[in-house]
Amino acid sequence: MKSLRYSLATLALIGTTHAAVAADNLEIIVPFAAGGATDIVARSFEPTFSQQLGVTSVVRNVAGASATVGTAEVANSEGNPNIIGYEPAGALTIQPSLKKLPYGPDSFTYICRTVSNPMFLMVSKASDITSFKQLVEESRDQPFLYGSSGPGTLPHLAMAATVVNSDLKAEHIPYSGSGPAMNALAGNEIQIMADTETILENYDLRPLAVFADHRVEGYDDVPTVEELGLPALDFAVWQGVVAPKGISDERARQYAEACKATVESDKFQSFADKAKAGIAYLGPDDFKAFVQKRFEANKQVLKDAGLAP
């Protein structure tokens, strides 16, 4: 009986501390494990952001199932003004078309887009292929293999869209991340990979095209896919902040202002510079429209490539 009383008392105490903390603590959900590429940006975003809002915030990593578990947690916290998600592109604009999820693109209050990096189509520097045209030519005899950081990820979609919209013959081999895929590329297990500038700079890779509507600064001789006669394919690795639905307009405005100030702060800019994250701020309305547009475009790619009904 005594032990029961103690347990009840403890439970009550645990309950009160939680309530007391929750009042002025902001929870930032990162849907990836600590230490990953998204997590690092989120953690350098967090201090300035919470300072701007005047609250204490905690980054919580909720990983799993292609970042949808953490994202679902944000979506399910409807009306909670003390939780936001630092989200990657895939969880918001690809996964909802791939599987049954407890959320869709309409389940959030959009706050801002923070960074965005265009993707390149790349081959190993060891190969003798120097242009997209040559790549297409050589794929006629023996189809190439392209890698990705996993099924249904942006590198996968970008290449799937390229294969559907051009004469390139290539098949998909998914890996458990960009690292293992790069290892496979170095060992010539795969020949093509689509990824960002960070990957391009870190490994011995040759860019053949960029998935953007204009040439990218610093890579002036790399043509856009549109110049190569393909439809204008736009694939970029971006991140943004979302809050659950049902929060007050006042709170949403506070978030948006804090985000804008953070992205413009020297501290975040110097970090982004070091981590090669291209700052690409979009406000709440633009971001919402952007996500909607990307969601529809990706859905079409998935449909064309036979990956989604």
Binding site: A34, G35, V62, E201
Partner: protein, 517 residues
Amino acid sequence: MDVILAAVGDAFTWQALLAIVIGTWAGIIIGGLPGLGSVVGLTIFLPFTFGMDVITSMALLIGVYCGSVYGGSITAILINTPGTPQSAATVFDGYPMTQQGRVDEALGWATFASFFGGVLSCVLLIFCAPQLAKFAVNFGSIEVFALVCLAMLCIVGISRGSLLKGLVCGMMGFFFSMVGSDPITGADRFTFGTYALSSGLDLIPVVVGAFALSEVFVRFSARDEEATTIPEARLRFPSLREIGRRLVELLRGSFIGSFVGALPGTGAAAAAFISYAAAQKLSPRRANLGKGEPDGIIASESSNNAVTGSAFIPTLALGIPGDVVTAMMMGAMVIHGITPGVRLMADQAQTVYTLFVVLIIVNVAMLILSKPSIGLFRYLFKLPLGFVMGGIVMFSFIGAVSVRGNPLDLVVAALTGILAYVLRRSGYPLAPLVIGMVLGPALESSLRRGLLISRGDFLSFFTHSGIATTLFVLIGLFLIWTIVGGVIEWRAKVIRTRREASSAQPASEQGIMHDHH
């Protein structure tokens, strides 16, 4: 040479040394607590490093990493519960030694083997990182498949009681690892339509349930028995003569660990199992393995700590992190403006050499700090059994949930604990379950990727490359060896029984009757 001297100077600043001592010590404690392992340790310390300079922060993280890989062996030996999955293979011989009253010897070997493996892999890292990295690149999906098949064979060796029971548990672990997203198509499978299961079953909650929680249940169900008291933790380092006698074992474990660590996507737990499998075939004292033989501890601990050094090879030479832990380290480096990749060695040679020096200091620190750490565990385990077990349950659940922050993992840990208790009571070995869980995903995805690459032709696996062919031949030899050995043993047994029977026959008929039972 100037670079190396400058690097030594960078590593011997008071900030870096302090970070090494704190990191290593904290790592040992965190590794020793069941459930809390390398990933949790690094997650705790990662935010602290944001304000430090690059060498200090890497020193702290490397300390935590190496310390935690070693620390897992302490609880594996003392209470039959590996503190981290990497030390799961240490249990096989570590705990039997404890039961025989050889705790001091077991801990001594675990500590020394960890130190030896760690240092040897650092030396390899310094002298052959580029060559090893180049070799690792040639290790494609098909080669990884062959290597994992080889490692899977150790299930046979550790299923002493009954091979069938071992295989049942191995397959169980294998199928546990299949729940969640399909690695090739991304579709959900074995989720029974529930969203909660789509993130799959993580290794840590399963290990925590299978070892830590089931151990707690077993101890409580038999709490009045003598065997449930935890022996006092003491440490006795092996003498030079003993080391000399087992030097081959130390070297073999360290080289296997160094090699496996350099391959992307394998990791320390797999290395320990592969090394243990090798010891089962090659150790001169292999007959005693699994019954409390130091060679088993050496195989496991020298290889898993050798991974700590060589896991940096693909990270530093190619910018490709070998496992979750090195991926986190790479993240920490990026924060400080160092981008690992092909040009790192050329552009930032001094930083890279400083990291090598730090790695060696960490291993020395580990050796020195082992004694006070074990002292702490001795103090902790002197508490009444109820408190110790309560603490283990608490840390197990904290560890299980803190890996991904997913509440499902708590349920998984609890259910695995109950399942593991039932399995243990029915005489099923639990280690194959963990092996299946560790190697299953690698086996499946490398096989399916290999089939995609060879366009569905499995036979071409055997001739895909020299490395693949060699590995498959080794598997063949292992199988023949095991079967021939089994037949010889069986024949010897039959002859012995017959001889005994014929000598017993005149004395009494009942002897034979008894044999037929």
